[in-house]
């Protein structure tokens, strides 16, 4: 397919990035290669959106550090960048809202006049939800598709009670799309198959097999740092230096939020929306 006929795609990764590792960065590279290899897509941008402190995950250090480390990590990339919007919010917001925010920014950037009027968009969307109509993307060809980039753990977290609103899952896979990086051994498709909502939008779910096992988890990195062990070559050098200079990730920092309930669970269990 001609390069100009391809659909433009922007990949958005939400997560703790606590801290960012080479594995996170690899996900972007793998996703881009995969999508472009289909011949249908041209990946034009990658966005890293670290979660805000309001998420209240155990061991989550300040968003300002996590944002800065992600910025250092992406300095050498010509297409991946960090967006601090989500991280700087006082309260936690659902992933679907973050995706919508970034999509609206893409639309505004392309001067798509139909949807710049956000009041009309809000009304239109609520109307669609009431009517049960399928979601419509902005049909102007120059607005890229925005897809959520994630690991298989996020996909599988869709089934954790009270962690996600079902309408959010439907919007994420239906209106936007998912690019899910999985380990060679895992069976993400089985998980999709077992969920009617996911299966219904399977055309919009891309599963990318990572043949080179690369499980540099941030949890492991934090553990190594607590124990005074080297994390060099697991994270980009500037991030390693930043962690050292600021003395991040100690036993104390790992205890942060230890007694607190994760924000989405707090929100949904209480029944508010």
């Amino acid at each position: 397919m001609e390069h100009s006929d391809r659909t433009k795609v922007v990949l958005l990764a939400c997560g703790s990035f606590n801290p960012i590792t080479n594995m996170h960065l690899r996900m972007f590279e793998l996703a881009r290669d995969y999508l472009e290899d289909t011949g249908q897509y041209r990946v034009v941008r990658g966005i890293i959106s670290p979660v805000g402190d309001g998420y209240k995950k155990k061991g989550l250090i300040e968003a300002s550090h996590r944002i800065e480390m992600a910025r250092l990590a992406t300095e050498s990339s010509d297409w991946i960048r960090v967006d601090p919007w989500e991280g700087q919010l006082a309260e936690w917001v659902e992933t679907a809202k973050v995706i919508r925010h970034h999509y609206e920014e893409l639309v505004a950037a392309e001067h798509c006049n139909d949807e710049v009027d956000t009041v009309r968009v809000g009304k239109k969307r609520r109307h669609e939800e009431r009517e049960g109509a399928p979601y419509s993307n902005c049909l102007r060809a120059d607005v890229p598709q925005l897809k959520l980039l994630c690991g298989a753990d996020v996909l599988e977290s869709f089934s954790v009670p009270n962690l996600w609103k079902s309408e959010d899952i439907a919007e994420i896979v239906g209106r936007f799309g998912l690019v899910c990086i999985t380990r060679a051994g895992s069976d993400a498709w089985k998980f999709v198959h077992q969920s009617d909502v996911l299966w219904g939008h399977r055309k919009n779910i891309h599963v990318v097999k990572e043949w080179v096992t690369n499980e540099i988890s941030a949890t492991h990195v934090r553990r190594a740092l607590r124990r005074g062990q080297s994390v060099r070559y697991l994270l980009p050098d500037p991030v390693v230096r930043y962690v050292q200079e600021h003395g991040l990730y100690s036993s104390e920092s790992e205890e942060k939020n230890a007694d607190v309930i994760l924000a989405p669970l707090q929100k949904y269990v209480k029944g508010s929306s």
Binding site: N22, R26, W211, E215, I216, S217, R232, L234, D237
Partner: protein, 263 residues
């Protein structure tokens, strides 16, 4: 740090190309040896194998050495040594170790003023003499079992006189490999097994495969090495065919009578 033995770690291999995983081996090994309380790791050496090794897809030594140097230019303790790659024939591991150990010992004696002909087992009054240990992956231990590949006296020298620091990965069980080889088992006190809990299988083979297919290898190896590979057009389908169907040099030599093996 008083009383600790100064230790240098030597890694021999193809480094075809060097990846973050290779450099991780050094970091893991250093942490582990420090944490035993007995050692102070003072240096690391990357020794790329010579072209004569004959492994399929082996890029020219001058490139492999250059890439390793680029990868390690920001390291303050690991260096790249091209002695082995410059030798006329493939060099047995034990020979490479002896070469580096003599160098290290001479340097140490210059520093401590104990120069002159070294006595068989130097023990200067203050501090311990430096040691050199072979840094390797768990798969390397299995080579000791391959018939005829190692001379028993060389196994004893590598494991006994020098010592091994072996980093495991995946499902490989290095402790089993030690157990199943009498000589290794005898010297198990000098074989340090380091467990890598993060499953991180960035192999150079996979990197070459990705490169052949025009896929990204960013974040698997340093940017400077990726740039070098691009500039020199390394790792193509053609380059992977090099030495195809050939016999690895050490296996070739294995067929030769013992007295022709260089020492």
């Amino acid at each position: 740090m008083a009383g600790r033995i100064p230790l240098v770690l030597l890694a021999c291999g193809s480094f075809n190309p060097v990846t973050h995983q290779h450099m991780r081996l050094f970091e893991l090994a250093r942490d582990h040896m420090h944490q035993t309380g007995q050692f102070q790791v003072v240096g690391g050496i990357v020794s790329p194998v010579s072209d004569v090794y004959g492994k399929q897809g082996l890029a020219p030594a001058r490139h492999r050495v250059a890439m390793a140097r680029l990868a390690l230019r920001s390291s303050d303790w690991i260096t790249v040594d091209d002695w082995e790659s410059q030798q006329a024939d493939w060099t047995e591991t034990v020979v490479t170790m002896r070469h580096h150990y003599s160098r290290i010992l001479r340097q140490y004696q210059r520093n401590t003023g104990t120069g002159g002909a070294p006595p068989p087992d130097p023990r200067p009054p203050d501090g311990a003499a430096p040691q050199l240990k072979l840094l390797c992956g768990a798969d390397f231990l299995d080579t000791f079992k391959a018939p005829g590949l190692w001379r028993p006296e060389h196994v004893a020298e590598v494991a006994g006189r020098f010592g091994l620091v072996c980093v495991s990965r995946g499902s490989l069980q290095p402790d089993r490999a030690v157990h199943e080889c009498d000589t290794l088992s005898q010297h198990r006190a000098n074989i340090f097994l380091v467990r890598e809990w993060v499953r991180n299988e960035i192999s150079a083979t996979e990197v070459r495969r990705a490169l052949r297919r025009g896929l990204s290898v960013k974040y698997l190896l340093p940017d400077a090495v990726i740039d070098y590979i691009r500039e020199h057009g390394l790792y193509t389908w053609e380059s992977e065919q090099k030495n195809k169907g050939g016999v690895l040099r050490p296996l070739e030599l294995q067929g030769a009578p013992p007295e022709t093996l260089a020492d």
